[in-house]
């Protein structure tokens, strides 16, 4: 019997019971009840506490049985167990059980400092031991390990960049934790997000305590700053950061930075900062391959002490490719579902995962793409389509072809036809060229991102 049917059956029965007893009794005794099992004519009803159990068992047994038999007459007996079930297991509630609640913030320091070390701001759950290495991140991981071995000497600053949810924060916090452990707290480590850095600076400026602020940062041995791309456009912060950076760098203190793009791609980052960021070691984290995704899932599963069949894991790993955090989210969801409904029905799980795996495709049209490209490069749409082969037109045209191919998955002949009746081989050449160039050319990557933004913001 499946979960939804239980819910329906119980709701129908409750509808009838409600008519037979007083409102107060109904609310008191039937709150948070539900059918847990329906097997061989014996229905097991979950009740929230011992009082409800005794009462339903002794007083309402007949009433409940009669109400249930009206809908399903093969039911012969009732059993009650204390097992709180929620009335309407909405997806939201199920999902919530998978995530840990954030402890509320307070002025006093709670014992929660177990979770995040107040001194260093590091979360001890990020370790090298649970960082899974694959070809996509081995350079970054190797550089990180080298930094732990020789902080401040080998790679300074260490700059790690990569997409959302691929483990940048995990890696840089792991460095911090490892250094704390290795040097037995002799090295002062501080982890801070660039946003926090900015707000601390702002409040220091506000209270006239800039000197204290500077002094604080100059005493640190290992400074870990997350998401430095947010410094972009904040000039005063950049300046202050520049001085702090220099002060630390001069004294051979280790600086570790992370960002979602390489330094040169962060717009409005001051030149002197950018060149400093590039002066140490830059390592990127790209997307994990299939085997690594599977390894990550297995590792998380072991951490949560749960088990899931291999084909579900495979399904998750095949379908969520670009983001490890989303991968973990999907895994949490499956585990939560498993715990709640006791179902290992694969079709059902696959169905639910569909919601996460294929988010509603953003809609666009080839005309919009052509227009966006034309606007971006400041050429005419007609120029893109006509036979002109001047370089300033040909290049945007190739980008347009590449984007239509990537975003809309149109056939090569179709693209050729729409862009001035060109041969499909021309299109193939353009897509191939772009694909290759995009790997090596940072400017092009940025341009593509910006054009996509234009396309989807229309």
């Amino acid at each position: 019997m499946n979960f939804m049917l239980h819910e329906e059956l119980w709701q129908t029965a409750l509808g009838e019971i409600e008519l037979n007893i007083s409102r107060a009794n109904f609310i008191t005794w039937f709150r948070d009840t539900g059918i847990i099992k329906n097997k061989d004519g014996v229905v097991t009803i979950g009740v929230p506490n011992g009082f409800s159990k005794e009462w339903l068992e002794n007083k309402y047994n007949k009433l409940i049985l009669r109400a249930l038999r009206n809908t399903s007459n093969n039911i012969k007996d009732l059993r009650f167990i204390i097992n709180p079930v929620t009335n309407q297991p909405s997806m939201e509630k199920i999902f919530k059980t998978g995530i840990k609640k954030e402890p509320p913030a307070s002025l006093d320091q709670p014992f929660e400092e177990l979770v995040v070390d107040k001194e260093t701001n590091l979360n001890p759950k990020y370790k090298f031991a649970n960082f899974i290495v694959g070809s996509f991140n081995e350079l970054a991981q190797a550089a990180a390990k080298a930094v732990v071995g020789n902080p401040g000497e080998l790679y300074n600053p260490l700059f790690i960049y990569g997409g959302v949810g691929l483990g940048k924060t995990h890696l840089i916090q792991a460095i911090g934790n490892e250094i704390v452990e290795k040097y037995k707290k002799k090295k002062k480590v501080k982890y801070i997000s660039s946003e926090k850095f900015t707000s601390e600076l702002v409040s220091a400026l506000h209270n006239g305590k800039v000197e204290d602020f500077k002094e604080k940062y100059r005493q640190i041995d290992v400074l870990v700053i997350d998401d430095v791309q947010f410094l972009a456009g904040k000039e005063k912060t950049q300046e202050e950061f520049f001085h702090a950076f220099n002060a630390l760098y001069q004294k051979n203190k280790q600086i570790i930075l992370s960002s979602d793009r390489p330094p040169r791609a962060i717009s409005t980052l001051e030149e002197r900062l950018r060149s400093r960021f590039e002066g140490g070691m830059i390592a990127d984290i790209s997307q994990p391959d299939m085997e690594t995704r599977l390894a990550i899932l297995k590792c998380k599963l072991a951490e949560k002490k749960a088990t899931l069949p291999d084909d579900i894991l495979n399904h998750l790993a095949t379908n969520i490719q670009k983001n490890i955090r989303e991968l973990e989210g999907a895994l949490n969801r499956v585990i939560a579902l498993n715990n709640l409904s006791f179902t290992t029905d694969k079709d059902k799980i696959f169905k639910i995962l569909n919601d996460i795996i294929s988010p509603p495709k953003k809609l666009t049209h080839y005309k919009i793409i052509i227009q966006a490209v034309a606007e971006f490069y400041d050429v005419n749409t007609s120029e893109l389509i006509n036979r002109c082969r001047k370089k300033e037109v040909a290049y945007p045209r190739q980008i347009a072809m590449y984007l239509i191919r990537e975003e809309l998955k149109k056939s090569f002949p179709f693209i050729g036809e729409k862009l001035g009746g060109r041969d499909h081989t021309t299109v193939m050449y353009a897509c191939d060229k772009m694909q290759k160039e995009i790997q090596s050319n940072e400017t092009l990557q940025q341009e593509i991102v910006l054009i996509k933004e234009r396309i989807y913001s229309k």
Partner: protein, 366 residues
């Protein structure tokens, strides 16, 4: 039903039972007490659907029967009757009470509608002496968290280790732990229980009224505290209690031995001049302990407390209420304070005893 007993006995039992009754508007019968004859005694029960209390009054049963009637009215009446024979009789849906010159009729509700208090028939988990257990529970119960946001710490943890029972409570800013050594208990009891704070307080109150031994019996999701003539059944809190052992410091950089009364008084005085967050500062300097506080609007206070100090200089801020709570939970003449830094927890122990532990987190210095 017809039952005759002494006013004194009835009064005591009514007061034990009626305390857990709150105002319940959805189910008015919860404001009532159930009076029921059982094996030659009168059983008085009350419940709020989380806790159920039953207590037995001895007397003479002349006719079996049962009724429920409003707790407050019955208790107020009996409290004011002379200490003579009281006669209870059910007539229809009314309860008739006769005592010397007083004749009363209270309107009741049928006993059939009263919630059934769950019965637990397992073998007892452990047995412990009432008064001793009451004092132990009293030392930790005040520290439980009152917020509903983290239900697992809104109760007292009972955990078993070899032959010892550990009681612990925390509100995440402080923690108290009391160990009861070598209790007699079932060897296979391993699972820790989280007893809701309200239940613990009710238990303390009832233990104060009853002498003898307390049996703790565990049922499914329920616990029964059996004190012979009185039983208390409560739900347990589901969930995983935080692993608090790891925050207890194993060693200390700073150790202070001080007379409890002296420190208590200094902290109390300093508390008068604490600011809105109740913060006072403990200062260890040149082998002296100083307690100071100041508030921009009120003024400031400082006092020296004679103490034996090991370790260097240190300055830590605390919520003075938390220190007071800790010190008042301890009865020894001297206490030991252990600290490691201005941002790590402070331990308070009775000097020379290792069955009690109180830990406070400092207030963050700005």
């Amino acid at each position: 039903m017809r039952f005759v007993c002494l006013q004194e006995n009835l009064k005591k039992d009514l007061n034990i039972a009626q305390n857990i009754i709150g105002r319940n508007l959805t189910l008015p019968i919860l404001n009532n007490l159930l009076l029921q004859t059982e094996e030659g005694r009168l059983k008085i029960s009350a419940t709020n659907l989380e806790i159920g209390v039953s207590t037995w009054t001895s007397g003479k049963v002349e006719k079996d029967g049962a009724i429920t009637c409003p707790a407050r009215i019955l208790a107020s009446l009996v409290n004011n009757l002379p200490n003579k024979k009281v006669e209870l009789e059910v007539k229809g849906s009314n309860l008739l009470i006769k005592c010397e010159s007083f004749k009363t009729t209270i309107k009741g509700l049928p006993a059939d509608d009263f919630p059934i208090i769950p019965k637990i028939k397992e073998t007892p988990l452990m047995e412990v002496e009432n008064g001793f257990f009451k004092d132990a529970l009293n030392q930790v119960v005040g520290v439980t968290a009152l917020s509903e946001s983290r239900p697992e710490i809104a109760g007292v943890l009972f955990s078993f280790e070899r032959n010892d029972l550990k009681l612990a409570a925390t509100d995440s800013f402080r923690l108290a732990e009391k160990v009861i050594f070598s209790v007699s208990k079932k060897p296979d009891s391993k699972k820790p229980l989280i007893v809701p704070q309200r239940t613990a307080q009710e238990l303390i109150r009832i233990l104060g009224e009853r002498e003898g031994k307390l049996k703790i019996i565990l049922g499914h999701n329920q616990v029964l505290f059996d004190m012979g003539e009185t039983q208390l059944v409560s739900r347990l809190i589901e969930g995983q209690y935080p692993d608090y052992q790891q925050i207890i410091p194993k060693s200390f950089n700073y150790q202070v031995g001080v007379e409890r009364e002296l420190l208590l008084n200094s902290v109390r005085v300093a508390g008068i001049f604490s600011s809105k967050v109740n913060n006072i500062t403990l200062v260890l300097k040149k082998g002296q302990l100083e307690v100071l506080s100041n508030d921009a609007d009120l003024g400031e206070n400082r006092s020296q407390v004679a103490a034996e100090i090991k370790g260097g200089d240190l300055e830590v801020n605390f919520n003075y209420r938390y220190i007071l709570d800790g010190l008042t939970n301890i009865s020894s003449k001297k206490v030991f304070l252990g600290m490691n830094s201005e941002s790590s927890p402070m331990v308070i122990r009775p000097a020379g005893e290792d069955d009690y532990l109180y830990i406070i987190m400092p207030i963050k210095a700005n």
